[in-house]
Amino acid sequence: MILLMGIPSEQPLRMVIEAAESHRIPYVLFNQRESQFADLYLEITNGKVVGTLRIHEVDWPLSSFTGVYARMMDYHDLPENQPRGRSSPDLENIQKSFLLHEMLFEWLEITPCRVMNRNSAMTSNLSKPYQAQWITRVGFQTPTTIITNDPDEVRDFLRKHRRVVFKSISSVRSIVRFLSDIKIKDLEKVRYLPTQFQEFIPGTNIRVHIVGEQAFATEINTEALDYRYAGRDDLDVNMTPFELPMEIKERCIALSKLLNLPLCGIDLKRTPEGEYYCFEVNPSPGYSYYQVNTGQDIAAAIVHYLSQPIQEVSVGISKSPGSESI
């Protein structure tokens, strides 16, 4: 039995539900929009973790789940927890929603079943340069980068690399832009907040979705600098399945294991010379966009991965990158 958590109308979760149904994999759905009809009991005693998830009056022992696909939004943003017109949301319901979600996340950190993905692992994406340090450990090249609040450093970097892009340092989404797009006098604004600048790497974008030991690579052809926003510039995007060289595939799988992200979207670029650069590992990939455009059945891979029997029946703490033992 697998547990699917989130908002079922959202495409990535909806496609996982459809895959579970078409492959006859039993599942339980925790619909965040109906969390007022769910309850959790969690107990740690005598060296064991036990508990029950009740959804619409049906009890599911937590031990019955082999895997969890968690694609949940912040409980604050749930429409049920927002004011509606002149009516304030019920404070008791909000508090219950807060604690229920928090304890579910707490359980996801300690459960021995497979989880896509635990919060402690997803937070590597909070800092792109921090994540880049892990990316290089598996042998990937990353673009030369400077994060600075000194305009002179930026000018010097631009002189060296000629084509430079800038983007956010954190997980806050930003549109990648060429430095030449902004007026030079705007460079003084970096004094207020360090900004990330990178050498522009020409080539073809490749998105690799890792599901356990499987890799689904998609080649993306477009004139846009940031293919995610190609539509804003009236540019087309063409996606095709792509066979990665074995060495690159193995590196991607190794990277997902290093970051403890059994499901992730790895952003690569293949240069005209055939070199591969890695930019980022997305811990909550919107894989459905790629599946719809290429036919790669990533959702099926997800449900099959999660339905495998648990191999280690021992309580443990998920490993997060950086928290290495002394």
Partner: protein
């Protein structure tokens, strides 16, 4: 620069450690830098590429922090504030906080010298684990634990034998959510935590590197060291409370004590407030021993 102490203004523990270091070393070898000083530093240059990251950081007082020539860092950072964005729109302010946090995390992780309280995805200056995680780590280390449970609706599920608590809208001295004991007749449908009953006594053990300081330190020495290794923390405070008289509990070593108390772990924090002189000395000794050559 041999010792760099990073902390928030008013961090008593960090200030005591700094004072002790300055009493042992020339002042130019010890630098105390607050989170705000890092945010306001006029020159940040954090470079990444094929080689190891290099950072040039100059503070407003013109101090250059030599990232590749530091002996050891005592890191007590937990969060980021951006006072110069106080009047900005909320989205812009939140963005600034996230960006600075991301930079600090990368910088701390890139330092070649030892960092006590390593920065990771679990926190900037402390390995933030939930209560459930800490208790499970304690079990794996061989320590007995206070039973713990949660029910989002006690009408549906409740724990028999455990006492009910509600979470308060405040923090305890270690920065964790505080719990308040409530009468079972008031519980109703309110989300409730349940804790195994204990006597109203506690013993604290501070784990500092390979040392443990406290009355129960020698009894649980091996287990505490294991807990530190499992959690990846060189500084830990472990709180024990007794369940009173009775037979030994499973999951831990024999804990029969002279006064027949059976001590069990009730709380662990990787960000302890430390005031005792011997404990401060132990932290300073740890920093001295971990300096990179």
């Amino acid at each position: 620069m041999r010792f760099l102490v990073l902390a928030h203004p008013g961090d008593d523990t960090a200030m005591r450690v700094r004072a002790r270091l300055v009493s042992r070393y020339p002042s130019e070898q010890v630098k105390f830098v607050t989170s705000e000083e890092l945010v306001y530093a006029p020159h940040w240059s954090h470079r990444l590429g094929d080689a190891r990251p290099i950072t040039e950081l100059t503070l407003a007082d013109k101090t250059i922090l030599p990232s590749h020539d530091l002996g050891v860092v005592f890191n007590r950072l937990r969060y980021v504030s951006v006072p110069h964005f106080e009047l900005a729109k909320e989205d812009d302010r939140n963005f600034a906080v996230m960006e600075m946090y991301a930079l600090l995390l990368s910088w701390l992780a890139s330092l070649p010298c030892p960092v006590i309280n390593v920065a990771s995805t679990r926190g900037l200056g402390a390995q933030e684990h939930s209560q459930a995680e800490w208790l499970l780590l304690a079990i794996r280390a061989g320590l007995p634990i206070q039973g713990y449970a949660f029910s989002s609706d006690p009408r549906a599920f409740r724990s028999s034998g455990f006492l009910p608590y509600w979470r308060e809208a405040s923090y305890d001295e270690d920065g964790n959510w505080a719990l308040k004991e409530v009468s079972p007749i008031l519980v109703g449908r309110h989300p409730t935590f349940y804790l195994e009953p204990t006597e109203n006594i506690r013993q604290e053990v501070l784990v500092v590197g390979g040392q443990a300081i406290g009355e129960l330190a020698s009894r649980f020495s091996g287990e505490l060291h294991r807990l530190a290794k499992l959690s990846g923390c060189e500084l830990l405070k472990v709180v024990f409370t007794p369940i009173g008289t009775g037979g030994p509990k499973g999951g831990g070593s024999d804990i029969q004590s002279k006064d027949n108390r059976h001590w069990q772990v009730s709380k662990v924090t990787a960000f302890p407030q430390v005031r005792e002189q011997n404990a401060i000395e132990a932290i300073v000794d740890l920093l001295e021993s971990r300096q990179s050559s």
